[in-house]
């Protein structure tokens, strides 16, 4: 496949690895933000090929992992209503709420459907005028333009039976929360390429010098990640806290202007709760007042939700780079992909699922 296969060659990987080995002189801890990148790093064994001096920790860029439990419980309550068709990306269906998950609601007769695109949910609303169609709008800056377009289109079609349950989050405030924490261990970041394809990378430019942490906008294929790691290590070794772009084939400094424009029209910045991490100021998106009619949270009063988190799950510490999945006492024992205790064991972008699937962190 063009623009995929050529970034997976062993030769290229060996060259980057050698370059990293000759550059590194002391221990460094890097965090990749995006769960998709975590998965590639573990799947291709890049974490194990790197010099021991380099530690990769895995960031909060897993939408399924950071969506608050309270909202998952709310989604479940809405999905149980007989007048509702509840739609979501597939990853969200298995995330454990306080007592249940969306798949169980479906098994009990609720209309829960997996969609590939938010526009599919809009189409369902058109085809089922007697039903309320709700879309679970989660994710980072990458899903915000598609979800904004879905709401915008629903308004243009004059749909009265479409709404979204919105839990959008933004990457730069989370990076700042990690870097600003007194417990922080992260010295350099691989920023998520597709988030930057949408937003550009100007927002990172004040962060890097403020926290003395180089930030490299990085793509998703093995060679992209190796080059990103090389660039970050080189910057660290040279004492530079700069923002660099590895992923030039898809990312420009300004990002995708037309996408940003619609996102701003439909959504406003708001404080958000991150599951396992807590509230981060200005770290999310909510609907603009002009689009309030499409807000499922106000459309469906489902009463007070009191969410109860698992007492053992350490997902929050993992996503802040303080711990690794196998430091969790129930990793691979009580918590497995078949019976997940926490969200990072569910999503293919979750660090716990990646470690489990590719056999990391089990004692030999």
């Amino acid at each position: 496949m063009k623009f995929v296969d050529e970034y997976r060659t062993e030769d290229g990987a060996a060259q980057f690895l050698r370059a990293i080995e000759t550059t590194v002189t002391r221990p460094w801890t890097l965090m990749e933000i995006c769960g998709g990148q975590t998965h590639t790093l573990i799947k291709f064994g890049i974490d194990q090929m790197l010099p021991r001096a380099i530690t990769l920790v895995h960031g909060p860029g897993c939408p399924v992992c950071v969506t608050p439990l309270e909202l998952i419980d709310r989604a479940i309550a809405i999905a149980r209503r007989p007048d509702v068709i509840f739609t979501s990306f597939g990853d969200m269906l298995r995330v454990p709420g306080s007592e249940s998950d969306l798949l169980s609601v479906k098994a009990q007769g609720g209309e829960v459907r997996m969609v590939y695109s938010p526009l599919d949910a809009v189409k369902l609303a058109q085809q089922n005028p007697e039903k309320e169609v709700v879309f679970f709008a989660v994710g980072f800056e990458t899903t915000a333009p598609p979800n904004a377009m879905a709401v915008f289109q629903a308004r243009q079609w004059g749909l009265k039976n479409f709404s979204i349950l919105c839990s959008h989050v933004l990457v730069p405030p989370a990076m700042e929360a990690i870097l600003g924490s007194p417990r922080n261990l992260v010295q350099g970041f691989l920023a998520a390429g597709h988030v930057c394809a949408v937003m550009g990378y100007q927002e990172y430019e004040p962060l890097a010098p403020k926290y003395h942490a180089p930030i490299v906008v990085t793509g998703f294929e093995p060679l992209d990640l190796l080059q990103g790691i090389y660039m970050a290590v080189k910057a660290l070794e040279e004492g530079r806290a700069t923002v660099e772009n590895q992923y030039t084939r898809a990312v420009t400094r300004a990002g995708n202007i037309s996408a940003q424009k619609l996102v701003r029209q439909v959504f406003a910045v708001t404080d958000r709760q991150w599951r396992g991490i807590g509230k981060i100021p200005n770290s999310g998106l909510r609907l603009q007042p002009e689009f309030a009619a499409f807000d499922a949270e106000t459309r469906f009063a489902v009463g007070d939700i009191s969410a109860t988190e698992s007492a053992v799950c350490i997902a929050g510490e993992i996503m802040q780079g303080l711990k690794k999945p196998h430091h969790c006492p129930v990793f691979g024992a009580a918590c497995t992909p078949e019976h997940p205790v926490g969200a990072p064991m569910v999503s293919p972008e979750g660090a716990c699922a990646a470690y489990h699937r590719y056999g990391r962190g089990f004692s030999a």
Binding site: M1, K2, F3, V4, E6, Y7, G12, Q15, F16, R18, A19, T22, C34, G35, G36, G61, C62, P63, V64, F89, D91, Y116, S117, P118, L119, D120, V138, G139, F140, T142, T143, P145, P146, M149, Q153, Q156, W157, A192, H194, V195, A197, V198, F220, L223, D224, Q227, Q246, T248, R249, A250, V251, N256, S258, A259, L262, E349
Partner: protein, 85 residues
Amino acid sequence: MCLGVPGKIMSIDENAIGMTMGKVNFAGIVKEVCLAYVPEARVGDYVVVHVGFAISKVDEQQAADVFSFLQDMGDLGELNIPQPE
């Protein structure tokens, strides 16, 4: 959720309310994709597609960057370190 996949635009058209849509080929699998966010893209261009939306055009010239970077490092001798037999 943020995994974008590169595909080639086969055709471009508009839906009933004027939104630019297109057929995009991912190594043989053709999907209907919203192209509203890549107004500059033309048939034959590659775009990164994410949940049914093209979020950026793949810059064919920049795509060689990774390899010219490797080439330059090689030329500079940074990689000419002795390898164990």
